[in-house]
Point group: C2
Chain length 335, copies 2
């Protein structure tokens, strides 16, 4: 059920089989599977994740390519709740390993100073990343284009940039190297560093490729109706472009795991096995938080894998049922 | 485009970047990605695969749980073609490694005695498995229930069998062991071996669990409107059941790969790396053909991974484009 703050009292004694941190594509897939395995699960979603901002999902089997991310999330949230999952709007502050269980501290609502603690045997980290966007004076100007013609994922949207004049927004030299992959889709690339001064070596490389470089900070994005026509820099320069790729890094939503000892990371990505299990046997990680491609289809499969492994673990540790036996545990979701 | 037999002439000189054998969930996901990477791809689909028979898809994020498999396949096929993939109805007989390319021999239509040969740099094996169903005199009687209340996948449909009287159909002793997993969902299990005589050891184990065993062959499934009410055996016995699980093994559609040397298998499943690449660098395998869970979400992610790795390989071997350069190769899909 959808839990409101007032319902949390009723879950004080509950030990969930799994708490899923993050109600994006991966977390909801996990919740749908967990619920259909008859396991007690809770999804905690803070709102406004990466999929929520995505204006269309081009490459996911079964859905129209103009389906907005938030529609799918809403659909899957309803689905997970209907199959028996609990769902809570809240922000997970900290996960503490208590040995047999995890204590998951969550803030519900802006005025929640103290927070609530919920418990589970397993935690699924599905809270993803959010893309760094260029900071300009009027951020609404960025949101007018981001997710429409100003993309954040080349794999998802490179096709839609085909042979167009494109800006590549980077804030480190490493990020500028995306130009030499983006040129698969379009060679008309202007590189904007939003204030970063670039080494002579990189300048020379860009010059060799014929990609103009602009080191001035961005003043504003130009265009109308979410369609980019150019970018205005603070010195008044206008760079023509009908599309763009923001490649300024990601913020990882995994702070709540910082107190867990021995979690193995590869850079900021959690290292997982083939079933999305981290180096902590009772913590799983999905989608953008783990190594590999940041794609919706991958996150959805990850949810399947993590939920299935958790089910296997719990099932194998449970006494088998003979004819006529009922297991009270299993009845939870069926009432 | 959708290729008819008469169009095949126009593809005689084409070397596809990838030929995808099988237009199920995994193959279509691969095709959508390949097309959106601007790669030339062809999907060859023989028709009536596992998803086609699936009457509802319970656990795939974004779709209603009563969506039939064939609807999604049709949707994704249209999508792949719209993004630029070729699609052909045909049966792949043989894949031959020619060094730089593969020769893919396909029969198009029942009257095609000689077959056509198409060529590609990569092959994606996405032709899946089909479940063995019990053979009875009137097979329509089986199809009346299979995919409705007579299930073939416990992970997908165990939830829908919850605490119901269920038949488990097996044809080896190993397959009977599914009873001791199925009892997670329901303990009211009758085991039907459709003629197989079972060892005393297994008989004793089933007796301990209180699961009745019926070794007589099945005469017919009883019920109406796709809703099972029982199973009638050839000796006239009627076993009451409102649901069932067929666990009689799978037929792997991978015969066309038999001539490829050195492909590594685990049982009948192809061994692949994290990007679905087999032990042959230019052959990828997806979904049910490879190791791991036979789930739609997994197959869809597999298509993403295989297509992306193929794109990376091709991209890294291609000269980078400077400003103003066009690459004729890439224009293929844009015309």
């Amino acid at each position: 059920m959808k839990l409101l703050k007032k319902d949390l009292e009723t879950r004080q004694e509950t030990v969930y089989d799994a708490i899923v941190v993050g109600g994006g594509m991966g977390g909801l897939s996990a919740a749908i599977y967990l619920a259909r395995y008859g396991l007690k699960c809770l999804v905690i979603e803070k709102g406004k994740g990466r999929s929520f901002w995505m204006q269309d999902l081009r490459n996911y089997v079964g859905l129209d390519p103009d389906t907005p991310g938030r529609d799918i999330i809403q659909h899957a949230t309803t689905q997970a709740i209907e199959w028996g999952a609990d769902f809570l709007r809240g922000f997970v502050e900290e996960v503490t390993d208590e040995g047999e269980t995890f204590a998951v501290k969550v803030k519900v609502g802006k005025s929640d100073e103290t927070g609530f603690t919920l418990r589970s045997h397993y935690v699924i980290a599905a809270s993803g990343v959010i893309d760094v966007l260029p900071e300009v004076e009027n951020m609404q100007n960025v949101f007018d284009y981001a997710g429409y013609t100003l993309h954040v994922c080349m794999i998802c949207d490179g096709f839609d940039m085909w042979d167009q004049k494109a800006v590549l927004l980077a804030k480190t030299e490493g990020q500028i190297n995306a130009a030499f992959v983006l040129n698969w889709f379009t060679p008309y690339i202007s590189v904007l560093t939003h204030g970063l001064n670039v080494s002579d070596e990189m300048k020379q490389k860009l010059a060799e490729y014929g990609y103009p470089l602009y080191e001035q900070p961005i003043a504003e994005f130009l265009g109308h109706d979410h369609k980019l026509s150019g970018v205005k820099l603070v010195d008044g320069t206008i760079v023509e472009a009908t599309t763009g790729l923001v490649n300024m890094g990601s913020i990882y939503h995994n702070q709540y795991l910082k107190g867990i000892e021995g979690l193995e990371y590869d850079g900021q990505n959690l290292v997982t096995n083939g079933m999305c299990q981290t180096s902590h046997a009772r913590i799983f990680a999905l989608g953008d938080l783990k190594q590999g491609l940041n794609q919706v289809s991958v996150a959805v499969a990850d949810g399947t894998l993590a939920a299935t492994q958790i089910w296997r673990n719990i099932r194998r540790a449970s006494p088998p049922r003979k004819w006529e036996e009922r297991r009270s545990h299993l009845l939870y979701n069926k009432n």
